[in-house]
């Protein structure tokens, strides 16, 4: 069973590289029983959104941009 320190490290790294299947499974298991690390995941995502908001560069890649937008009708 990985520690919260290791789990947060993987959560951080998942923003930098693709995790291996083994890492993903271990992390998912950890998060299934650890509310703190589940929240950490969402809050790291918020840090990213906030930073981009702050520097006014939503995202340089348009394909990723569209993923976050609601489809227009």
């Amino acid at each position: 069973m990985m520690s919260c320190h290791q789990a947060t490290r993987l959560i951080s790294e998942s923003r930098e590289r693709a995790l291996t299947l083994r890492e993903k499974l271990a992390l998912r298991f950890h998060q299934s029983i650890c509310a703190g690390c589940r929240r950490f995941d969402g809050q790291v995502e918020f840090l990213r959104r906030a930073s981009r908001h702050f520097s006014g560069s939503p995202n340089s890649r348009s394909d990723q941009n569209q993923k976050h937008r609601h489809p227009r009708k």
């Binding site: 520690s3 320190h5 930098e16 590289r17 809050q43 906030a50 981009r52 006014g56 560069s57 340089s60």
Partner: protein
């Protein structure tokens, strides 16, 4: 999306430029303790980007570009003053010391008081001026190297590889720094905004 103005018109708008300059200055000041050097770097970055104004389609592209130039100016400054080299070698085994940051116990589990709590209305925070002051203060409290790589990654949007090439770090050292920066920044925002400050 309707495009009424050219990028040129939008960028040369006084209000837009002064807001952008403010952001660039904050960004530069977070990384350079020397105010005059920060001012110079911002000035050069803006001048450089404005010279090539024609090649941008939209203010977002322009802004991203100015930040990228500014980052290079800042890196140049560090290179010249040799601070970068002195700072960039992390001692091996540094990762272990991270646990003593006070967030995790001996076994690497959250201390009860440090465990992330639910955040009320994070999206609303993005609209609050006061939140941004807290956010900046938290960034300023990061150790300078952590702040720098975090900003290169999340503000400028450089990839891990680009940052490593720029500041001569190994990928695994970079990941350690980003991990720490995220832990600290998250913790700081929780303590100073989401816990007490927000209502």
């Amino acid at each position: 999306m309707p495009k009424n103005n050219t990028t040129q018109e939008m960028v040369l708008d006084d209000a837009y430029l002064s807001e952008l300059r403010g952001k660039l200055m904050r960004f530069a000041r977070l990384q350079l303790s020397d105010a005059a050097a920060a001012e110079d770097a911002v000035q050069e970055a803006l001048a450089g980007a404005l010279k090539n104004l024609d090649s941008f389609s939209g203010t977002a592209a322009f802004r991203t570009w100015v930040f990228a130039i500014l980052k290079h100016k800042i890196t140049d400054h560090f290179r010249r003053s040799k601070r970068l080299l002195n700072e960039s070698s992390l001692p091996p085994g540094d990762e272990e010391q991270d646990r003593s940051d006070g967030l995790f116990d001996q076994k690497g589990h959250w201390y009860r008081d440090e465990r992330p709590q639910p955040w009320a209305d994070p999206e609303g925070a993005l609209e609050s001026r006061h939140f941004w002051r807290v956010f900046e203060a938290c960034l300023e409290h990061l150790p300078s190297k952590q702040a720098r790589v975090f900003m290169m990654r999340e503000f400028v949007g450089l990839t891990s590889d680009e940052i490593c090439a720029e500041v001569s770090l190994s990928v695994s050292n970079l990941h350690v720094l980003l991990h720490r920066a995220r832990l600290r920044l998250r913790n700081c925002l929780e303590n100073n905004w989401f816990k007490g400050g927000a209502s």
